[in-house]
């Protein structure tokens, strides 16, 4: 089934540890995004990539890094996790800039991360 797959679905992580959240899509979408969802704050964009080989910072990029080596994969790395990074993380994809208008974002199932 076409879509976006995130792994893991949940994780408890010790503060200071390094963690990579994985995201893979098979829709050949150009744009991919990482959001974090926190109660009362909605979805906030962490990083994005409009095409393979390029990335950009979103609203809350500090403490996170991303890479986009190919079209399908967009991993999010926490270099040294802190408790404030406890959140639900969503990966999403869309056709992206310059492509057919009206395409919405497709989301993965989310990763619940708890930093203790």
């Amino acid at each position: 089934i076409a879509g976006i797959t995130q792994a893991p679905t949940s994780q408890i992580l010790a503060a200071g540890r390094r963690m990579t959240l994985r995201c893979t899509q098979d829709m050949r979408h150009n744009a991919m995004y990482w959001y974090r969802q926190d109660l009362g704050l909605g979805l906030r964009l962490i990083h994005y990539s409009n095409t393979a080989g390029t990335t950009g910072k979103g609203e809350v990029p500090d403490g996170y890094s991303v890479s986009r080596a190919n079209t399908d994969d967009f991993p999010l790395t926490l270099a040294s996790a802190v408790p404030s990074q406890t959140s639900v993380y969503f990966c999403a994809s869309s056709e992206g800039p310059g492509h057919s208008p009206g395409t919405e974002a497709f989301f993965g199932q989310g990763t619940r991360l708890t930093v203790v």
């Binding site: 995004y33 959001y35 800039p97 310059g98 208008p101």
Partner: protein, 117 residues
């Protein structure tokens, strides 16, 4: 920069009633898309409905319809004959019609909707 505001953090209605969720946005763009996403307890983000700003006709999808007021920058979602399965968090979102390289999809903070039996 675009902003999306959902002024109702939480709402409750009885099953079978009609409920309207509010969304306002601020943009200098003339052509754009607006979306409503539903997030049930399963956490999955599901597209409910989409509206193209250049279309005057309000979008409808079965029991879901929107009231799009472009001049007022308002985009409310109406759920008719609400069902228990409609219980979810609802997000309003904005996207430019022809986004430039650094443009993103902008989300509101969400409205948590409870459908009561």
């Amino acid at each position: 920069a675009q902003t999306v505001t959902q002024s109702q953090p939480e709402m409750s209605v009885q099953e079978a009633e009609t409920v309207t969720l509010s969304c306002t946005y601020d943009t200098s763009e003339n052509n754009y898309y607006l979306f409503w996403y539903k997030q049930p307890p399963s956490r999955q983000m599901i597209l409910v409905i989409r509206q193209e700003a250049y279309k005057q006709q309000n979008a409808t999808e079965n029991r879901f319809s929107v009231n799009f007021q472009k001049a007022a920058e308002s985009f409310s979602l109406k759920i008719s004959d609400s069902q228990l399965g409609d219980t979810a968090m609802y997000f309003c979102a904005f996207m430019k019609l022809l986004p430039l390289r650094d443009d993103k999809i902008i989300f509101g903070k969400g409205t948590r909707l409870h459908i009561l039996p």
